[in-house]
Amino acid sequence: MVDDGNIFEIKDFSIYYGDFMAVKNVRLDVRSGRITAIIGPSGCGKSTLLRSLNRMNDLIISSRVEGQVLFQGVDIYHRDTDVIELRRRVGMVFQKPNPFPSSVYENVAYGPKIRGVKKKSQLDEIVENALVRADLWKEVKDKLNESGLSLSGGQMQRLCIARSLAQEPEVLLFDEPTSALDPISTANIENLLQELQKTVTIIIVTHNMQQAARISNYTAFMYLGEMIEFGDTDTIFVNPYNKLTEEYITGRFG
């Protein structure tokens, strides 16, 4: 993807769960075609912020937001927003691989089918293409009809990525996508993210700071709901501006 400015512009954005303010007046520009990592201790609001970018937070009854999230210049919290379409364009991959309890093929074909793709040959092409992009095709091309749940953890996670890619998203949100995986599967996913970055903007929440350092172009550090520091990953890990950031990334927090 050609870098053409900011795909998300988050402006004075706050998220409440009931009376609790989980995300406080966050400002953040997410560059198109880049990998942005969000780091911070548990409870800092990073997953909440991530989930708000395709309105997954709507599913939590008590949550409400203030401020704006502009996606391609359009406020996604406007009442005219087609949330289903938003979630197609902004996909999400979670911490624990969560394939549907159906075949590998059906997992990937599900989204396009819902979208109205009916022709078998067209579905076949979408499934193969998504599995290739998720670097899983070689491993599963002979077992497309086996259950997605029969795959290894790393394969299941790549299946979930393929399932998202079949929807042709512009952005993929990753919430701790490797924390349940072994180091080799983690390395595979990280390589895959680097590859996907060429076609999809990636935002990743991770507890693994080395992972943020390894794969991201930009890093945001959050603490107690606030965006403490945001910048080039190089700068954040070599010479952070904020003392809190320094304490967190050098493991001297609290």
């Binding site: 080395q210 890990f237 070599v238 952070p240 320094e246 990334i249 050098t250 493991g251």
Partner: protein
């Protein structure tokens, strides 16, 4: 204290120890020259392997900390700075050995004239080493900037020393072999001051995260 903080403290202590040994080597090599004490010169040469061993030990410790602790930000800058400045310190130790070797040679010959510039240069160079290492421990202050400025004094003394010796050589070519050795010694001290300048520049990097090597320093505020 967390393990890593303890290890970093241990690393700093080793750098200070190395600095102390190098400072002594410089002082003793010049003392061996000025006081014509060949035993002391031999002692400086004998002790050099201790400096080399500590340099290697510190480098190994840095590599270990990078591998096991994945240092970041200030910790990372401390460790990379350590690896660079120990190389400078070790080279200073070699320069002190060179001075001691010239001292052994000159001590065999009649004294050309009393030493004036060289003790001054040695004193300035030693203070540069001492202050740059103080800055390494105390962190951000004006000290490293002052060290960098002092390098000019040493450079001037080197030129003055050379000009004085040159006029003596013109008057009496017989003294050329001795005078040349004296210019070597001044050159060694000038190099020591350059290494101390490198250290001060790295300390500024360690503090501020900004490389000032190969640039004109315009700002001297910590």
């Amino acid at each position: 204290m967390p393990i890593f903080d303890d290890e970093l403290k241990g690393l700093r202590d080793k750098v200070l120890k190395l600095g102390y040994m190098v400072e002594n080597a410089i002082r003793d090599s010049v003392k061996a020259l000025v006081e014509r004490d060949s035993e002391l010169a031999k002692d400086v040469i004998r002790r050099d392997h201790l400096i080399n061993a500590l340099d290697v030990g510190i480098d190994e410790e840095c590599v270990r900390l990078i591998a096991l602790r994945q240092p970041k930000a200030g910790d990372l800058r401390l460790i990379t700075t350590t690896m660079k400045i120990t190389t400078d310190l070790e080279r200073m130790g070699d320069m002190a050995v060179n001075i001691a070797e010239r001292a052994l040679e000159l001590n065999e010959e009649p004294q050309l004239k009393p030493f004036v510039n060289i003790p001054k240069m040695a004193e300035a160079a030693q203070s540069m080493v001492r202050d740059s290492l103080d800055a390494f421990v105390t962190g951000c202050s004006r000290l490293p900037y002052e060290v960098i400025k002092r390098d000019d004094e040493v450079d001037e003394l080197t030129v003055r020393n050379f000009e004085e010796l040159l006029s003596l050589m013109i008057q009496d070519p017989k003294i050329i072999p001795l005078a040349i050795k004296r210019t070597y010694i001044a050159k060694y001290l000038e190099r020591i001051a350059d290494h101390a300048t490198n250290i001060a520049e790295m300390i500024i990097y360690m503090c501020k995260g900004k490389m000032i090597r190969h640039t004109e320093i315009t700002e001297d505020q910590p």
